[in-house]
Amino acid sequence: MAQLEKRASSAPAPLEWEYAPAPEARDIVEIRERYGLFVGGEEMEPRSSEWFESISPSTEESLFEVALAGAEDVDLAVSSARGAFEDGWAKLAPSERAKYLFRIARIIQERSRELAVAESLDGGKPIRESRDVDLPLAAAHFFYYAGWADKLEYAYPNRTPRPLGVAAQIIPWNFPLLMLSWKIAPALACGNTVVLKPAETTPLTALIFADICRQAELPPGVVNIVTGDGTTGGHLVRHDGIDKLAFTGSTEVGKLIMRELAGRDVRLTLELGGKAANIVFDDAALDQAVEGIVNGIYFNQGHVCCAGSRLLVQESICEPLLEKLKRRMSTLRVGDPLDKNTDVGAINSKAQLDRIT
């Protein structure tokens, strides 16, 4: 009883609470020392004999070495894609193509933890996001386009949709695997074959995806992955064996590509940067508007093509809104991307950090 009284007499002090580290285990990903190119269903040493390092942006640790594809490598990849296109992928019954896509979708789900950890390690995004956003969406895209493969005729009545041929696809570093899915899944569903170039700083999940293609027994050459930097992308854009180019990335590079493709019989899709505005009026639910603003600009460290980097607020609520926003921002947890409680991980690369600071 004395003990109880003692406890009662001491006024309850508020708890200063710290979340203990809650890191996602990284040993689920087996990272090799070196990754070659994925061409014709097999891993290939680059003819260029050039390699570069992939760096984990949160620790600056070098994760692995990866091939830097040169002109000859890109040429091999494009001819491999052409071969696969002509050898049967385009003529395969759409329902059969769908089976491969469904299979890939299921394997992505099965390996989602591994892919999520790889994404956070290589690109710096918090595991909370790669686990809850990138991976479920990547699998969902494959499921979705698998479903479309045998329904295209119904989408375009009285017309006969047919594949274009070889699609060259260049993707950015902000959603590496998700962008890959966005590009590869519809291209394959429609009967095209693909040469994909992942971003220089985030090739890891694309390289694991190469393994998934093998695991799904996708016919060789249907998906080819060439890693490298801007010069590799340049080779791909200039290659005369491509029928389609899809690029997501900076407006600057988009303009270069458009110039390069002018006058050529190559179809083009560009998805370029644009910054968006949040507009808040005085009848808004302020606390939820703050959530919207925070998600708009801090999701994926702001590495989003439509990030809400501008804020327009009706004057009458400006002050309370900013106060709420500042308070909310103070609760964002910046830290190790692999920690499950991290809200803001690492900026994607040293170069990007230098650009924005």
Binding site: L4, A8, P12, L15, W17, A20, A22, A285, A289
Partner: protein, 288 residues
């Protein structure tokens, strides 16, 4: 209120991963914040005696486990509990005002409150008149809380909004403001007699009101989610939400309580698991 963004925020907070020492701290705090509750027609003095013993010393074999904040009972059982808990620091909370429906004339509600306080209640958990609220008679709801608060004297007043009957988050926000303006020391989600009882989004909604009131006036109002919180994991999610919404200032039994009956045993099991590395069978903890 925007339901989508509110629920999404609550879902994000519920995903925080609280491990090891921070989990133990949270579980310890959850016990210190607990209003151990029994509100049944079948409650007897004997059951209340057992409940009080458990309230003071939740885990008989581990003296480092703290006492709960209060026991929460019907007025008839207050006197017995008060005797049992004398000197322990554990408070006695009594429900009042025609709990759980609130459908009685105001003067009887006031009389009931007065009786509960005279019987020794340190805290009073009243219900708002949802019938009046839904028919737009906000002033009746307000006046009643003012009168009950007056009848409480020194006793702390918790105002139960019964959010499960309010329908929308806008109504929850309105009722919260009404209760706070009328003098509530705490706003409480539910009686536990209606489904849904406490939910994380509804509690977050109330926390946001409390935060706004604090920033406007400097007044600190407490929050008590009650009903449906049975697992340690849920309790930790509420604490995370509290911590990231109102900050460490609110991480005290003075400003946050859990209304619960079966939660305590699960917390005790989790504490023992954290300390020993092994799960105990539920059979090793008392039922009441």
């Amino acid at each position: 209120m925007d339901a989508v963004a509110l629920e999404e925020r609550a879902a994000t907070l519920a995903k925080r991963s609280i491990k090891r020492e921070s989990k133990l701290q949270a579980l310890d705090l959850a016990i210190r914040m607990m209003d151990l509750t029994t509100l049944e027609g079948q409650d007897t003095p004997g059951k209340v005696a057992a409940l009080c013993a458990k309230a003071m010393r939740p885990d008989p074999v581990d003296s480092t486990v703290p006492a709960v904040a209060a026991v929460c009972l019907y007025p008839n059982l207050v006197e017995g509990a008060k005797e049992r808990l004398a000197g322990s620091g554990v408070k006695v909370a009594s429900v009042a005002t025609a709990f759980p429906s609130g459908q009685l004339p105001t003067k009887l509600k006031v009389a009931e409150t007065r009786a509960a306080v005279e019987l020794g209640a340190d805290e009073v958990d009243m219900v708002i008149d949802r019938g009046a609220f839904h028919s737009g008679r906000y002033s009746k709801v307000y006046d009643e809380i003012v009168q009950v608060k007056e009848a409480c004297g020194d006793a702390h007043l918790k105002v139960i909004l019964e959010t499960g009957e309010l329908g929308t988050y806008d109504n929850v926000r309105r009722a919260s403001l009404l209760a706070i303006a009328a003098g509530a020391d705490f706003i409480k989600t539910s009686t536990g007699k209606i489904n849904p009882a406490a939910t994380l989004p509804v509690t977050l909604c109330m926390m946001e009101v409390v935060r706004d009131v604090y920033h406007e006036t400097g007044r600190k109002v407490g929050i008590k989610p009650a009903g449906g919180i049975r697992a340690s994991k849920q309790a930790v999610q509420y604490l995370v939400t509290l911590y990231e919404t109102l900050g460490s200032e609110w991480m005290t039994p003075d400003l946050f309580r859990f209304g619960a009956s079966s939660l305590l045993n699960d917390v005790l099991m989790q504490i023992r698991k954290e300390k020993t590395g092994r799960y105990q069978s539920g059979d090793y903890f008392t039922i009441d």
